[in-house]
Amino acid sequence: MNLLRSPDGQSGLFFTAFGLIVATLALQYPLGTPARMGPGFFPFWLGILLTVTGSLVIVQSLRAESERIAPLEWRSAAIITLAIVISASLLLTAGLLIAIPALVIISAFAGRNVKILPVVITAAVLTAMAYAIFILGLDLRIPLLWGL
């Protein structure tokens, strides 16, 4: 299918689906009338508009000879997102001094040619920077190490 391989086709499908979902979800709120707009009015019509423009994008992608979409960098996407989520969950439980090294070390594996020593040094320097800037400098209330 050409539709799934081009940037236009994929985004058109995404926008159409997203618009339909939003319009459906907006129906759970009162729509009201134009003169007295309810909380569902604006999002409902936005959803409909998005569905319409999204379908136009699909139509456009079928008519034009479109390029192939770039390969999905699933490795970078997964590792970076994971690094952020893990450090967020460590920030309040294990503390800043664990969360920042975890963030730096995990995210390092998204790059090519990872070498352990430079990564460890980067992690140490950035953790020291985070401590100096956010704890000493800006006096943020973040647990350092297991609630210390």
């Binding site: 940037p7 926008f15 997203f18 009338t33 909380p39 959803g47 970078s76 730096v104 956010f134 943020l140």
Partner: protein
């Protein structure tokens, strides 16, 4: 009277030690990230947005603005010395600037770029000071009907300035407007799209959205390819241009300033477009067009003046009408809203100190930049050698802790992580994130003004066309859309964008 009183009010704030310091920090950071190819003003400003919760609005806006125009300077340094334009606005500077560097005139090219920029900065600061009050006076008589139309115009502008397909940009604006609906509905008090998360009741956090879409998404899409190999850096010998170079550069800088000031104000204009237009103009008016591409001084002075002038005049629609003309302006509006200042024509009357201080600081910042840039060129060049491997974990670190600091909770970090992933998918589908952000910012105001207008007209939508000012604004929006869709102009636009890429 006002013409003198207002700027002097601005300077009295901009020249406070504290604000000079923030201006300095802003232009310093801006120059640094302008030099670094891996980091642009959008990501940096989103990274620093949490700080604006802690600072007072004047200082934070002065700093953020400094980052924006500082980046134009830094971008040209990297373009001239290593042929690596740090910013899209300095792509054309690289053409002749790098050639000059190869011919041993690197110092002269840098000096001309800096002098042209500071000249343009000074003139365009005057333009901002002169034209903003006029526009804001006109707009202050607007009611909800006119406001709604004005915002539609702003969104249309956002669509036009996006690269690539117009339809996709419209979709992105709509997605942004939809995301803006999240939270408690202002008029009925009911929770919309919060899915049971109390943290979402005051709406989606703007900083989390901006960081996700600009900083995280950008890292994901570029981290694999950016394995840094050291570029060749040209030595700087004499820093001063000779008389012949100076004479050729001066008129080019004046023309660049003019074209940049005009293109910056137009919705959809901006620094990148201005520098390209200035380069084309210089080539046209030159008696020896063949010089261009082989180290023409005019090819450095014109575009550099233009991109700096445009960077500054693009503040005019944001400050006077509440219409952001590009992604950076959207972030600046977000910073104002974080400080409970709603952008629009009333800013000038309700916060005159902020308004004039920001304008005065632009001039202060330009002077700081010259003082900072020329003697420290060697240091900036060293920055280019910082590998991306070290840079992106640092960006992640600042973002994660910054997101936490907004509310002292980790919820915003998760939100940003989600938008980082979604933002990457959107970029991969060739959808620009900036229109989405503009939609998100204007969404709540658009809904409120639509509600008020329709309440007054008892549900009759024709009110937008029967009110003359509103009809005029909508007509401009329609004309802009039609003009962009017309084939000849569309081809020209694609050409401009692809060369500015």
């Amino acid at each position: 009277m006002d013409l003198i009183a207002n700027p002097s009010l601005g300077f009295s704030h901009a020249l406070e030690i504290k604000n000079i310091l923030f201006c300095f920090v802003g232009v310093l950071l801006g120059t640094a990230i302008g030099v670094l190819p891996g980091l642009g003003p959008l990501a940096t400003i989103s990274m620093l947005l949490p700080l604006t919760y802690a600072l007072d609005p004047i200082s934070s806006l002065i700093m953020l603005a400094g980052i924006y125009y500082g980046a134009q300077y830094g971008g040209s340094t990297a373009a001239i010395l290593v042929n690596l334009p740090g910013e899209s606005s300095s792509v054309v500077t690289a053409i002749d600037g790098y050639k000059m560097a190869q011919q041993g005139r690197a110092g002269a090219a840098l000096a001309i770029a800096a002098l042209a920029s500071v000249f343009a900065g000074t003139v365009s600061t005057g333009v901002v000071a002169a034209f903003s009050p006029i526009l804001s006076n006109v707009a202050s008589s607007f009611g909800s009907t006119e406001y709604f139309s004005l915002m539609v115009l702003g969104l249309v502008a956002a669509v036009i300035l996006a690269h690539g397909s117009l339809l996709k940009a419209i979709c992105m604006v709509l997605v942004g407007l939809i995301l803006g609906c999240i939270g408690v509905d202002a008029s009925s008090g009911s929770y919309r799209f919060t899915f049971g998360f109390l943290e979402l009741s005051s709406g989606l956090e703007f900083v989390a959205l901006a960081m996700g879409m600009f900083a995280f998404a950008d890292i994901i899409s570029t981290v694999a390819e950016k394995t840094g190999s050291g570029p060749a850096i040209h030595k700087i010998t004499s820093l001063w241009p000779n008389k012949k170079e100076f004479d050729a550069a001066a008129p080019a800088a004046v023309r660049g300033t003019l074209i940049g000031s005009v293109l910056g104000v137009l919705p959809g204009g901006g620094a990148a477009l201005a520098s390209f237009a200035a380069y084309t103009l210089e080539k046209r008016v030159s008696r020896e067009p063949r010089k261009f591409g082989n180290g023409a001084v005019e090819g450095v002075a014109g575009p550099e003046a233009a991109n700096n002038a445009a960077a500054q005049t693009s503040f005019i629609p944001m400050l006077t009408l509440g219409l952001p003309s590009n992604g950076v302006m959207a972030l600046m509006m977000g910073a104002m809203m974080i400080n409970n200042i709603s952008p629009g024509p009333q800013v000038m009357t309700t916060n005159p100190d902020l308004f004039w201080a920001l304008i005065a600081s632009m001039w202060v910042g330009n002077v700081l930049l010259v003082v900072l840039n020329l003697p420290m060129v060697g240091l900036w060049v060293k920055l280019i050698t910082i590998p991306y491997k070290v840079l992106y974990p640092a960006i992640l670190m600042f973002c994660v802790v910054g997101l936490y600091s907004i509310q002292n909770q980790t919820f915003e970090i998760y939100i940003a992580a989600i938008f980082g992933f979604v933002g990457y998918l959107l970029v991969r589908m060739k959808c620009e994130p900036a229109p989405l952000l503009l939609g998100f910012i204007l969404g709540p105001m658009l809904e409120e003004n639509l509600r008020r207008t329709l309440q007054l007209s008892r549900g009759d939508p024709w009110i937008f066309v029967t009110h003359p000012i509103s009809a005029g604004i909508l007509l401009v929006a329609l004309a802009l859309l039609l003009v962009t869709v017309l084939p000849q102009i569309r081809n020209k636009r694609e050409e401009v964008f692809s060369e500015a890429e």
